[in-house]
């Protein structure tokens, strides 16, 4: 009986203990599952908020037709910061996963090898742009902001990618020169749940933000720019580009229409300083007041960028000239000013001529002791950290002051800003467009004209060869006709016969139509 009871009790006891074990296992699994189901999402606001100098400038600073959610050269030079709002959940805290932000231009960062784990660092295709959160305790949905400098996104595209787990360094404005050609690249930002060792956790759900189109180089300049004079106008023609990048053209003229000072144009400058030492506050480029003013404007920009300035900014001449190494000094790249424009055959504008990436006509070096040394050289280029001239001859950015752009609203062309900050549409839109008329000019005044191609991100490429032109009165047909004694004209409905009522011939025809209708009715009535 006991046996039975025992025998009978033993299976029951085993069954009960089995249930308890199963329940414990299930509870453990559930708890474990809950802890490891890290979720990352930014569906509520997939595009980041943009900040410049700490100011929120919205999710876009460009028209919808100019790659509003992408990155262009102006974004990079402004040291824009992207702020992603990401919703996290399922991170239990201690002994749980980290969350990091990575970027790539090959599309994927979820595989460990793409982030440099298990492979040589040279083989990595992703780079760390924000260290994110370390073992966060975010069980329920919580929104956090993650800032990513634009320069951190675009900088490592062609440079050596930092070794695994190393945050991208701040390369300053030189990060904006890393794009090898005018073709745009795609950058994907990944929000990854990673183990404390930095490896992917297969139980977590990574999140990739919408692909960012980064384009830092304007398209090549159009060729065969020709100028034809007219009465208070210049007709500009060129051979349209055939590349896949050009979306329009900007036309530049020196002096600008309506300018009262056609004889001199202030130079534009770009100042680069090393991290140590203050940027040069004033450096003359000839003692002209206008150039000093321009320099001050450039210095302000430089102060904003001083922290991020390249450590070893170098200036090298074109292949024809020797490189100039100035690692311990501020470097002022002067794109020059214009003298009086030439009348017929020679283009005298140094503003519009020889346009290539970061081109200058002189370099002023200011040592720590304050001694300024100016070297004048045609076609000086800023180089990257490796000392290689970035300019390939097929792309670049127009550093022409924005005031020389025609056909662009002044509101989108801030004073003293270079052409690449033009945030509006180009002077003319469409790649196959090959002509533009600049009106409102003064007859007899010589002008210089250059044309730049503009890409779909608003980057203004290097200007074409500068061409001179001078508006002058012409004999158009109607002028010849009237001067010869012709009397016609006025409007389509103008009356040439004095006293004739308006529209007499039309009235006659209308009368005929009425008579015809009446005749038809009369004939029907007879039937």
């Amino acid at each position: 009986m006991r046996h039975i009871t025992q025998s009978g009790g033993t299976p029951m006891k085993h069954r009960a203990s089995s249930v308890l074990v199963l329940a414990a296992v299930a509870a453990t699994l559930l708890a474990s599952g809950a802890a490891r189901a890290q979720s990352i999402n930014a569906a509520a606001q997939p595009y980041p908020e943009r900040f410049v100098n700490g100011q929120d400038v919205g999710q876009s600073t460009r028209p919808v037709n100019l790659n509003p959610h992408g990155i262009n050269y102006a974004d990079c030079m402004a040291d824009m910061v992207f702020q992603y709002s990401v919703t996290l959940s399922g991170f239990p805290g201690v002994n749980s996963d980290n969350m990091q932000v990575w970027a790539t231009n090959t599309g994927d960062c979820t595989a460990d090898s793409t982030r440099g784990y298990g492979v040589s660092s040279e083989a990595a295709t992703c780079w760390l742009v924000n260290v994110g959160l370390t073992q966060p305790n975010l069980q329920s949905s919580t929104t956090r902001q993650f800032n990513i400098p634009v320069r951190a996104l675009v900088g490592p595209q062609t440079n050596t990618i930092p070794k695994a787990g190393t945050l991208v360094g701040d390369d300053g404005p030189s990060a904006c020169l890393t794009q090898a050609s005018f073709a745009a690249t795609s950058i994907t930002v990944w929000f990854l749940p990673l183990t404390s060792a930095g490896q992917a956790d297969s139980n977590g759900t990574p999140y990739s933000a919408p692909v960012i189109t980064a384009d830092l180089v304007g398209p090549p300049a159009p060729s065969n720019v020709q100028i034809g004079g007219g009465d208070t106008l210049l007709s500009v023609t060129w051979n349209p580009n055939l590349d896949a990048d050009t979306a329009g053209y900007d036309v530049f003229i020196d002096p600008p229409p309506g300018s009262t000072d056609a004889g001199f144009v202030a130079p534009t400058t770009m100042l680069y300083c090393p991290d140590t030492g203050a940027p040069a506050a004033s450096t003359g480029t000839g003692g002209d007041a206008s150039s000093d003013a321009a320099l001050d404007a450039a210095s302000l920009d430089a102060e904003n960028e001083a922290e991020a300035a390249p450590q070893d900014a170098t200036v090298a001449a074109t292949p024809e000239a020797a490189a100039v190494e100035m690692p311990d000094a501020c470097i002022l790249v002067n794109s020059g000013g214009s003298g009086l424009a030439a009348s017929n055959s020679t283009c005298a504008s140094t503003v519009l001529s020889s346009g290539t990436l970061m081109v200058g006509t002189s370099v002023t070096t200011v040592s720590d002791s304050g001694t300024a040394t100016t070297e004048t050289e045609a076609g000086i280029l800023v180089t990257d950290d490796s000392g290689t001239a970035v300019e390939t001859g097929t792309g670049g950015i127009a550093a022409i002051p924005c005031l020389y752009t025609v056909g662009v609203s002044s509101s989108s062309c801030p004073p003293a800003s270079p052409a690449y900050t033009n945030l509006s549409t180009p002077s003319v839109t469409g790649e196959i467009v090959s002509a533009y008329t600049i009106s409102g000019l003064t007859d007899g005044v010589p002008y210089n004209v250059a044309v730049s191609a503009v890409d779909g991100s608003g980057n203004v490429g290097p200007p074409s060869v500068c061409q001179p032109g001078t508006p002058a009165p012409v004999n158009d047909f109607f002028k010849l006709y009237r001067e010869a004694g012709g009397q016609a004209g006025g409007s389509f409905c103008a009356l040439e016969a004095v006293g004739e009522p308006a529209g007499a011939p039309l009235a006659g025809m209308a009368l005929g139509a009425v008579a015809f209708t009446l005749a038809r009715r009369r004939r029907r009535n007879r039937r």
Partner: protein, 263 residues
């Protein structure tokens, strides 16, 4: 008296319409199916033309110019292409002779060249000077198709006469040209209209004879009874029609060629 003349001129293009009803009655009796047309079932009431000519407006013939040739000076002597469309209503059929009815036509031509500089060294500038002309005509059209219908000779001579008008616009690179008198300071816009008469004499060659089977098939499919290749001497005298004192003479004479379709 003068006004009466104008009224008559206004009636001229629509006069044939007054007897259109008679034409309908005759056609209903089956005469429209006479001759070679009996092979084709669809009725025939209209003719549409696609026209092209090499044209030079007679601007310089204006007596007000006193022999000056501003047109020639601005555009040279090369004729320009004038294209147009015309729709004729064959309102009245005259048995064993042809048809008569009203027609309307519209065309367009643009003449442009580089304007010369006024001061030495002169020569062409970068500015374009243009003259756009939009001629419109209302006319009576007489087609003598007895040769084709009764004798099988694929030739149809025709005559057109009526009123012509043209809108014109002189422009430059910046838009409509404006002339400002250096003496009065008054500005005149370079656009206007010119009135006059329209006359044309031509002959059409019926292309149906080249492929009668295809012609019949097309007739059955689309209702086009005959397709013609035509040549026409056109004269547009836009001298004002007595209503304008000094209109710009944007008419002229030209040889016009094209295709016409009767349906």
């Amino acid at each position: 008296m003068r006004r009466r003349c104008r009224l008559l001129l206004a009636f001229a293009p629509v006069a044939p319409l007054l007897v259109a009803g008679t034409a309908r009655a005759q056609e209903a009796s089956g005469e429209a199916l006479d001759g070679r047309h009996k092979n084709y079932a669809s009725p025939q009431h209209f003719s549409a033309e696609v026209r092209a000519s090499l044209f030079t407006p007679a601007v310089d013939s204006d007596p007000a110019l006193a022999g000056a040739t501003p047109y020639k000076q601005a555009f040279g002597t090369s004729p320009r292409l004038l294209v147009g469309l015309e729709l004729d209503w064959q309102a009245l059929r005259i048995p064993h002779f042809g048809s008569i009815g009203p027609g309307l036509a519209a065309g367009y031509t643009a003449i442009s060249a580089k304007a010369d500089y006024t001061a030495p060294p002169n020569g062409p500038s970068g500015e374009t000077t243009s003259l756009d002309i939009y001629p419109f005509d209302a006319m009576a059209v007489l087609r003598v198709d007895v040769l084709w219908r009764d004798m099988g000779i694929p030739v149809v001579p025709y005559l057109k006469a009526g009123l012509g008008a043209a809108l014109w616009r002189a422009s430059n690179t910046l838009g409509t040209a404006v002339y400002t008198s250096p003496t009065t300071g008054q500005s005149v816009s370079g656009e206007g209209h010119s009135l006059g008469t329209h006359f044309a004499l031509g002959v059409g060659f019926n292309l149906n004879v080249l492929d009668e089977y295809a012609a019949k098939s097309w007739d059955e499919a689309s209702g086009v009874n005959g397709t013609y290749l035509f040549a026409e001497y056109t004269r547009e005298d836009l001298t004002g029609l007595g209503m304008q004192t000094n209109p710009m003479r944007v008419g002229g004479t030209s040889w016009t060629f094209g295709l016409s379709f009767e349906f």
